[in-house]
Amino acid sequence: MSVMRPLRSVGLVGYGAYIPRYRLPASEISRIWGGDEEGTVAFKSVPGLDEDTVTIAIEAARNAVARARIDPVLLRAVWIGSESHPYAVKPSSTVVAEALGVGNACLAADLQFACKAGTEALQAGIALVGSGMAGYAMAIGADTAQGRPGDALEYTAAAGGAAYIVGPAEAGCATLEGSYSYVSDTPDFWRRPGQNYPRHGGRFTGEPGYFAHVLSSVRSLMEGLGRSASDYRYAVFHQPNPRFPERAARQLGFKSEQYSPGLLANEIGNAYAGSSLLGMSAVLDIAQPGDRILLVSFGSGAGSDAFSWLVTDTLPKRQSLAPTTRAYIERKTIIDYATYLRLRGQLVMH
């Protein structure tokens, strides 16, 4: 199948990140549960008592609007991908749109596809703007992920999000060269309604899950565009831990200087639908005109979206218009396991 391209060229006209302030060290989890923290992340971000996917999305989206320098009324879609929407029924996206001052003539929806839901929203935004149906569309990936206490996922399930405004290529900080999406029914991770924690399918999470989908989407995209790893200044992968993206990157021929700047997992954990999109925002904070960026998501269940972006002369003028991803990473308060339980609402108050 060929690379996906919209009829009208589109770009990212604004982007913004948000990461909560609190960090739980892996050593705190292994102190309580006696597990092995070897090979996992050093810290994961933890949302405050008053934070959820909606509040994370609002701040990331405000930063994207600040960089885009557009009136939010021009946004014709606000789409949020997450596995932790605060309501089972009632959109997060309308709350976010209202907070931003978006008008009523707007599409709004919540998407769900494990960690890929945010890039799915981005693909939809590209299509909406690229077809000429809308001038601007907002795509957000945000999560406050939970892992079962003592489970391997508890080390990494983190919180954060990033927002992107898709608009005309002429106004873009980075223009889209093409994208490729690859999905299959692979049961590597799931959560049934009413359950507090997800389950994962052991051996399915690596080879048939992450690696098969990520490698397929990237290889198809690069082949379709006639590009090789050396054409890219940066490559950003979904990062459930630091090891998976590093291994996938190396298998695809990328070197550390290409994938390390967008690899944040060791410092903040896995922000699920926000994970690859936060890696992308960290790279956009430092990229220069002419740089080419590969963005690759992965979502369990399973699928991967791969995008090729080319940075324009506009980006340097936008980078300082909102806080950088690094500023949020460095704004950190280390917490212990008891505080973590409190912030995650695990203490019974009445």
Binding site: L49, D50, I58, E59, E98, A99, G101, A327, M349
Partner: protein
């Protein structure tokens, strides 16, 4: 907060939207029907910048119903860049880190909820200016 009042005040609560008086151009927060400065009708919405400084504050150790799980937290009077004093919770800050004159910025956060099956209320709060916080 009733559903009706929560709905009616959504732009004020979520977007920190006040008013500007069309007669005397006073910036008003919260929004109201009559301008307190000139007595004329005030209806023009104005999105405030969200930047300000702590004018006064108090640490809440005993909280009203619905806020018990959040103590201790700081309630503050914030002097907005536009002028009006606004009462709001501070967030992302320990009570011993707060000082009079502290630069703060508006964020939209979860404030309370109407039980486990009710509506979730979001509201503006203030936190230390991020640019300053990142330096610590």
């Amino acid at each position: 907060m009733s559903l009706a009042s929560s709905w009616r005040t959504r732009k004020f609560r979520l977007g920190f939207v006040g008013e500007i008086c069309p007669q005397c151009h006073a910036k008003l927060f919260p929004p109201r029907d009559i301008c307190p400065h000139c007595g004329g009708p005030a209806k023009e919405p104005l999105a405030f910048s969200g930047h300000g400084t702590v004018y006064s504050y108090t640490t809440m150790s005993v909280a009203p119903r619905g806020f018990e799980g959040q103590t201790p937290y700081v309630a503050a009077l914030v002097k907005t860049e536009e002028g009006p004093l606004v009462t709001a919770q501070l967030t992302d800050v320990a009570s011993d880190e707060v000082f009079i004159g502290m630069p703060v910025e508006m964020v939209t956060r979860h404030i309370n909820e109407e039980g486990d099956d009710g509506i979730i209320n979001y509201h503006f709060k203030f936190r230390p200016e991020l640019a300053a916080a990142a330096k610590h």
